[in-house]
């Protein structure tokens, strides 16, 4: 995994926790902060990453705070976050001070991660691409999360696309590739796949999705092993 860090500076601990969960789900390293000076010290030390900066923490000092963060590291991308009633002039002031983007606190989590991936792509294309590609440890199965495509190893080391995966099956596969070898219980799978999304999956249907995913993976389907009394684990033969 990369050493890139996502810092979240905010006054609202509930929101901090929600965003930390959403970003961690992408496999990103997240550092929630409530104090600006602590954040700035970390940015100066680690130098590379994305900062979500809540306007409510610094208020009128936001433009100055942005300049100081940029002075600490030019390799940091700063995104201002605010309540929806913030005067657009304040947002423009922040953008002109060196801020790279802005969004309101009620932004949908899916949009949040999509926006952050766009920033990653711009900051370092190869890293963004690497963060989107998931590969099994043995190199037999891989997927590209942003393109929603998956492949299995074919003959003569050529990759063969896995066709017909539904969005839910795609997410199941991503979950297995993120945690190869680990036994994942049905409740955890259900929670991770459905959290914050309009997906209707009942516990009983997890098994049906797994069965369908195994079928579509062909001879690699057996890598999704049933763990009695728990759920499933992705293990290469």
């Amino acid at each position: 995994m990369s050493q890139l860090t996502f810092w979240i500076l905010g006054a609202d601990t509930v929101r901090l926790r929600r965003w930390e969960t959403a970003l961690s789900r992408e496999g990103w390293q997240v550092s929630p902060q409530t104090r600006y000076e602590t954040l700035k010290a970390e940015v100066a030390r680690e130098r590379f990453g994305i900062v979500l900066l809540d306007w409510n923490v610094l208020k009128a000092q936001v433009p100055e705070g942005i300049k100081r963060l940029k002075a600490a590291s030019m390799k940091v991308s700063i995104i201002l976050t605010s309540d929806s009633n913030l005067d657009p002039e304040k947002v423009i002031d922040a953008l002109e001070a060196g801020c790279d983007d802005h969004f309101y606190h009620d932004l949908d989590d899916r949009l949040l991660t999509a926006k952050l991936k766009a920033h990653l792509r711009r900051m370092l294309p190869s890293l963004a691409s690497a963060l989107d590609i998931l590969k099994s440890p043995g190199g037999e199965v891989k997927m590209d999360r942003s393109r929603q495509e998956a492949w299995v190893k074919g003959t003569r080391t050529r990759w063969v696309p896995v066709s017909g995966l539904t969005p839910t099956e795609f997410q199941f596969l991503a979950l297995f590739l993120e945690q190869p070898g680990k036994a994942l219980d049905r409740g955890f799978i259900l929670e991770m796949v459905s959290k914050g999304k309009a997906i209707d999956i009942r516990p009983g249907t997890v098994d049906k999705h797994i069965e369908s995913l195994r079928r579509k993976l062909g001879r690699f389907g057996s890598m999704i092993q049933s763990i009695y009394g728990v759920g499933y684990a992705f293990r290469e033969n």
Binding site: P88, I92, L95, R110, R122, P125
Partner: protein, 126 residues
């Protein structure tokens, strides 16, 4: 002086965006749809693209996808303009390669600030 491609089939918006960016110090290449935009991108040196989402012939998403798949144009900063703000559409736009979104109607200073940010981010990424 950076050059901005402005693709919008709505004449009023196209002229408005052109005027805002021209006054902001940019050279502007205005076109009426995605197909004309694609042609302009291959013939002229364009630094930033401001694309309407819904256009005839080729929409903003399709043009974005073609740009990202192109060997030399793939790093072009793209700002998408849209009257719609559905989460799924915006997520799809980012996944296809848009760098930023701005919903119509927009504040002229906000548009200019966003374009400047894209220009700055693009420079730092190189």
């Amino acid at each position: 002086m950076a050059t901005v491609l402005v693709a919008d089939d709505d004449e009023m918006f196209r002229e408005l965006v052109t005027e805002i960016l021209t006054q902001g110090g940019y050279a502007v290449v205005p076109v009426e749809d995605g197909a004309q935009g694609w042609e302009a991108l291959q013939k002229k040196k364009i630094d930033i693209a401001v694309l309407d989402l819904n256009m005839p012939n080729m929409d903003g998403l399709e043009l974005t996808r073609k740009v990202r798949d192109h060997g030399t144009l793939k790093d072009l900063p793209i700002l998408m303009l849209t009257v719609r703000a559905l989460v799924e559409e915006q997520v799809s736009g980012y996944e296809k390669g848009a760098d930023d979104y701005l919903t119509k109607p927009f504040d002229s200073k906000m548009l200019l600030a966003r374009v400047k940010v894209l220009e700055r981010r693009s420079r730092l990424g190189k």
